[in-house]
Symmetry: D2
Subunit: 291 residues, 4 copies
């Protein structure tokens, strides 16, 4: 689940390409002949769209190609031949995650509890909020907390401030931990498939505002939460994880909210975990989630 105890530096290769015979053999052979010890391999073929997806992780300890050259070699040897899209990551490089919050603390606490317990292989340089309510939480955990009171009038100006913070801190991805503001198109384009949101409904049911009120009004017997990458279309990005919990006629909006808190935090943290472990691949607005 975590890479915490890892002694070795591993490389992680994520790729997809049109499916043709021999890709899997070619890639694993490339790693083997260069003395890489494969510690993880998962692959999947979408036979309807004829696309091959793969995640392979290998120990670099005796690997003959220097880490910094792997990308170039892989590009030269395979990428154009197989029309591959690929990314290479290294397990000794912690991704840098920015947290955006508003007033609710449950997702924030859940993430920080995992983080301080060493369960998340990530760095959190700062938290941004449009309210000061949770500033004390940032202080408790010793993480810089920037209050940027963004609203529809000052949005353009304050987003520049946010973008500067993200850039200055070399942020790799953003987590919206019940952040109640729209994300600008510029930020979405700068971090494609790198902004993770938690929506408090079983998407695509109850898109938009007040999903628990919508759910109560519809009389559902199960409520859900959905974590997804943010795209330009509201609540319509690729889904990473969903989960649900039963409700009854005895529940009301208030108890939906209470039950939903546990759902939201667990679903969001699972999505972050998968993202950090480089186990998510987006294709055609759907996600491949490697095991």
């Amino acid at each position: 689940m975590t890479n915490m105890e890892q002694k070795n530096k591993n490389a992680i290769l994520l790729l997809h390409c049109p499916d043709t015979q021999g890709i899997l053999a070619a890639v694993t052979d490339f790693i083997n002949v260069n003395k890489g010890n494969i510690v993880y391999l998962d692959q999947y073929v979408d036979h309807e769209n004829n696309v091959f997806f793969m995640r392979v992780e290998w120990d670099l300890n005796q690997f003959l190609i220097p880490a910094e050259k792997i990308n170039e070699y892989f590009q030269t040897l395979f990428a154009s031949k197989y029309q591959m899209q690929f990314s290479i990551y290294f397990t000794d490089v912690k991704p840098r995650m920015a947290l955006f919050v508003s007033k609710m603390s449950h997702c924030l606490f859940d993430i920080l509890a995992r983080y301080t317990a060493g369960e998340m292989n990530v760095d959190i340089p700062f938290i941004i909020s449009n309210h000061a309510d949770l500033q004390w939480v940032g202080e408790k955990f010793g993480i810089p907390f920037h209050v940027i009171p963004l609203n529809k009038d000052n949005r353009t100006e304050l987003e520049k401030e946010e973008m500067k913070l993200l850039k200055d801190n070399n942020i790799d991805f953003i987590v919206l931990a019940r952040y109640m503001q729209i994300i600008s198109e510029e930020m979405i384009q700068t971090y494609p498939n790198n902004i993770i949101n938690i929506h408090h409904s079983f998407l695509p049911a109850f898109i938009g505002a007040k999903p628990y009120h919508q759910a109560y009004s519809r009389g559902v017997k199960i409520i859900g939460a959905t974590s997804h990458y943010v795209t330009s279309e509201l609540d319509a990005g690729p889904i990473i994880e969903q989960d649900v919990v039963r409700v009854t006629h005895k529940d009301n909006v208030k108890t939906f909210v209470a039950k939903g808190r546990d759902l939201e935090k667990i679903v969001l943290s699972r999505a972050i975990e998968k993202h950090i472990e480089r186990k998510v691949l987006v294709y055609q607005n759907r996600t491949v989630i490697f095991s």
Copy 2:
């Protein structure tokens, strides 16, 4: 779960009314003083809408009021005083259920397996289908199977035939066991909250045709099934029961359909069971499901 083994004749009272002090005491007292032995009582107050809901079941063995007079007594003593809506049922009267099917057999088989095993306290006088595909199933189980090849051109005429069958057989409620035709407004009005449908999605997500295709296209990680009472608005009636099952990127529409079959049949049979047991009360397009 079933009333199969019951030796005694019980009365079941279902009611709702504006919540005021003393209703529960008044009703239970009425049963007690008349020597009814209460074997089940569940009640619920919707504090937002200030409505009291109750289901009480008592043994009629020593009850002083004759069964056929209970309705009248209750009407006189309580109904107008408390502005109650109520229904009284007796456990020795089996509700009469009509089954509507099209081509898919899984829900039909599941219902008939329970029925023939004596698990459903119901009579099934006949099955209606717009196709002949499942006629052999009706024959296997010795249940009259009427093929009524209804389509958009002959709808008006053939629905008359259906309505006649329903009426002649004293049908109490209708189960649409993956019946793929629209139900007429007349039939809906004749059987309010007595037509149970199974929709193969987690409503209100994926209303209408081909919900599994819609779900696949959206990239959901969980699929669902929903049983609900049919109302004039498509797939928008009061929800009785829902359940879900996980899917992954390795699933496709075909495996959604296969996984969905088990969901659909279980969810539909649970809803039928609750309906037969008189444990469903509809209020403002939501259901109270007694335990």
Copy 3:
């Protein structure tokens, strides 16, 4: 879910007694005639053992009997007549909860996150641990943290210290948030049905040490967590709440532990919540959990 926003002082009555006619009517009538407004009522009859269980909550605002006299009145009027066991609680009195932890932080963080967010109507006067590892968490949240390095040699002596702390702080109930020591018979007898443990298995499977190792070795496809009241027999007390999560052959003990953390904290917090809300009644080593 929480009593946080309550303006009114309510009384909560929990009772069980042999089932006879008229109890429900008698109790609700007693509350009504004394001008108590019932805001919650749930009752249940165990027909096999012929026991009546009830939880009723009413607003004391216009109640004619002073709060401090209710217990006496109820005792006199009903308890001996109906051979009742009953307890009365008031919603303006927060129960006092002691937390026992060892080295793992996930349950502790989850509880403190809810506590500081005002979601738990409880006071936490202190945390006890047999290790200093989590002292910093207590300090972060401003809660006294007592390191009592209890082991099998010093157990008798140090337990006296613990019992004194519990008594001096008027502790009502104890939560073992992954506390890895045996609880003494004396403590169990002092806090009957008031010590809540979380066991990291789906009890009664995998009693005792290293349940995830046992589960992995058995090759289960689902793992669970169980919160229960502590009794003299190890992991055999009344179960309050259980939940499960799927595992596959790709999981190992390490990922069981990681998946289990989320289960454990949610299951434990749900149990604490039910206990605080006075919705748990223990009878014959089973729990009645009111809705």
Copy 4:
């Protein structure tokens, strides 16, 4: 989910062996160079025991090696080199399944409903029962039904009769669909990992007789069902599939049984499906279940 619509004849290779570099590349290369089109590949490495597991399926349409020679070639080229255990199956060969039942019909109906709907790629030459109660079901579905009234006195003799039936009908595997008799050691040895049982508990909780009574007595909040291969030790064989459903204090043994029926039939049918699809590999009393 099913192979029903398959036009092509595919080969399925299931294998496990000590993990060394290059196995995956070697096997996929072998298929590729001989013009087999891989339509499915899933593999898994147990890093703790250093075992490599693989399931690969390929279209034989243009495969250069004749189907009847594949086993020999594979044995020669790979098996001894890599110390492999392997099996080869062909999708145009339906496995032959014997059904054993006693008095309860729910699992039997569920299997036969799938079978007659063409959802299970299997042949069912006959049903065996120690009671005549379900003979009518066999007749309904046109499947020979042998009543073999086995008990502890006539066991040895009647088992010979059963073994003869199994042998004469070339049975590949046996499904115990709530069959309430012990299976002899001889039968177990003759069909290793080919006898599928459904046990009505969440194993290893509640081994042996009357698990629902045991579960009720223990006061669990969740009940389960487990399908597993039969081994010499009672209810201790490799688990194929498990699932659970919530219960409350309002449930009793009778409602456990009713809720359990749906669990049992779904869990058993899922296990049969996986077995038929050749997606189960047993290793050290655990199962690898390919996706």
